[in-house]
Amino acid sequence: MPFLQKLKPAILPLAALSWLVLLVSTLLHANAALAARFGTPPEWLTLVAQASFVAAVFLYQRGQPDPLRGTDFVGLLRRLVLGPGLLAAGCVGLHLLERLIEFGSPTTDRTFFSVVYTINLGLFVIFLAYTNYSWRSLVLFRATTTIRSNWVWFEILLGGTLLFRLLNWAPPGPLATVIIGSLAMFGIYLSSNQKWIAYLSRRQKWEVVLMQMALLLCMAVFVAYFLRIAQDPKLVAPTPQHAFLLLTVFFAAFYSLMGLMVTLFNLPTAGIFEQKREEILSLQRLTQLIQKGQNEQEVYDMLFDASVQTVEADAAWLDVDAEVPGNLQGKRFNIEEDTIVAIRGLLADYNLGHIEYLNNDLPGSSGFRGLGLQLGSLIVMPMRSAKRQYGSLYMLKEQRQGFDRENLGILQTFATQTVLSIENLQLLAHSLQNERVQEELKIASSVQDSLIPKNLPIDNWFEIGSHARAAKEVGGDFYDFLHLPGKRLAILIGDVSGKGITAAFHMAQMKGIFHALMQENPLAKNDREKFPVPSKFMAMSNQALIHCLEKSSFITAALYIIDYEHGGFVFARAGHCHTLYYHSIKEEVSYFRTAGLGLGIIRNDGYEKHIKNQFYDYNPGDVMVIYTDGIVEARGADQEEYGEERLKQMLERNYYLDANEIKQQILNDLDEFSYGQPMHDDQTLLVIKFKAAQPDTLN
């Protein structure tokens, strides 16, 4: 309300001013000498001063910030008793002082009496305003909008009664009773809003009861004073704002009384409320522990302590089924190890060790009676998830009928929460482990990357374009080059079946075999025997791989030895993709369809007859395309394979380009073909273009 906002700074001075006017006017009425000198003020001035003082004090209190801080109800009441309560003491003190003076020197002078009366009236109004607005905070605590608007109406109607006296209009007899009565009913209705009491602990409830009593006492003091002096002949001032003050006192007192009663009636149940609160707090503590990322042992300890505390067990123990024995410790409270063993054994006999079990009459059950325990009740609460059992919680009480259904429910919640926390912690550990594996895969990937030759052989008799990419971090495709003496170059390409780490290991192995076998044999009788021919190389590789390749794995490879002094090459294909070739003389593209078995498929010395060498004399301008099946088996949108035919057509269209450009054209076409499809297999592509041999330029 902007109007009230503007009024705000003026309210306090207005209150002070109207009180002074009230004081002066009362004094003038009371003291004949002063009245003779200054004249008697008209009665309406006193009334207006009174009304505006009351209104200003109430408005001022209304504009104060909410006295309730959070849920500190006791603090609110304490301030109420200490502040306005002291006002009541002041009121009593002043009255006694006045009585004392009058007793000492009886006088008919009414000046001092009137001053005390005016001060007390002021104090009473302040007390009421403070109390009323403290009550407002309590009434409106978590209240609905209906209650809020009801309260505003209550204020407006109360304010209306101020006008009764001011306008000097008294409603005719029964009507006044009806108006006052219905407002009082309204006050009673509002007084029923005592939600805040539910939030008090047992101790706080006691405090509240005492403070409410003190408040009622303060109010009683004021009321007694005003009732008493109403009869005093010395009272000259107009009677105060009856209707308004009466209603306010009524509301303040009734709310206080009601609060007192509700609190009193709530006292017996306070213990239960507190127990529930304690349960909720324990649950919260358990939950918080997960977020702090503590270890499993701490979660179990927490569960155990919380459970013992919450169900008020006299003895208890916790069995933990650790995945790694000795990793986690159970807990024991107020019970001997042999008693535990005995009970555990008994439960196992009845097959009850791992299910939820409540026995409230141990002395009544034959098995337990036999153990001669000093215990009356037992709960067994297993902790388990869909995956596994984590252990069991055992709670014991000395008296029979010690546990109820609620206890069982709470322990159930605790157990569930604990299992959740434990599984969370395990998940966390797993994900950390995963991260480490990822990290190691990255290293493996970079190691493997270093196995692929970065520097392609450069010479003026050929060009090479190369491309390799793995479907996963590490792959099973490989290629390598090796310069051999006598103007020869060995090129190896291959593919290990499967993908990932296993394939990567075998790929590294194959590279090792390649370098080991392609060493010059010092015992060779002639140049041709210094290095193994491709078919011999494959047979030796097959022999080497037999011992390390698992049964269902195999390797496909092709080895080319190019002799550029004589312009020819020899190769053997061990189950690897056919070599695509452009013959410049015939101007024709075709595949070398030679026979050859993959490596690791037959594991005896019969391999050599399954592999053939193929010799070919190349011409300048010829293009050789060698690749792995990741290229021809790449899938398109309709799950169709890229295929040998499409690759062949690409070479037919692009044979005249540089090796690198041919490679790029093929890759572009392949990417377009398999756009949006996941990569299933590693892809490797080498394009070699022969040029006219120019000996003696470099070598």
Binding site: S497, G498, S552, G598, I601, H610, E641
Partner: protein, 109 residues
């Protein structure tokens, strides 16, 4: 991938339906690993509905090849689609395994 079995006194016929890749090859491997398989004289593989075979799928046959030979069990493929046959051929398996065009020929062996 679906594997259906059909057996007579001395012949076991496995019909493959779908794609034989890394995951489905486990299924086939389980079938071929069963000890009673070695009691048959012939194991026929009907490849009519086999659309694709990956290296893992080939690996299953390769890993059982030696065992079958040692036990005297004949492994025969028939009704093979062109592109699947191509895969066998590239790897050189056509020289090691018996691949015939039709069931009649397979039974006749």
């Amino acid at each position: 991938m679906k594997v259906t079995q059909q057996s007579t006194d001395n012949t076991l016929t496995l019909s493959l339906d779908g794609e034989l890749d890394a995951s489905s090859s486990v299924l086939l491997d389980t079938e071929l690993t069963k000890p009673e398989v070695l009691n048959y004289q012939k194991v026929l593989i009907d490849c009519q509905r086999l659309n694709y075979i990956s290296s893992a799928g080939l690996g299953v046959f390769i890993s059982h090849l030696q065992q079958f030979q040692d036990a005297g069990v004949k492994l025969v493929f028939f009704n093979m689609q062109e592109k699947v046959h191509n895969v066998f051929e590239i790897l050189g398996l056509d020289a090691l395994m018996t691949i015939v065009p039709s069931q009649a020929e397979a039974t006749a062996i």
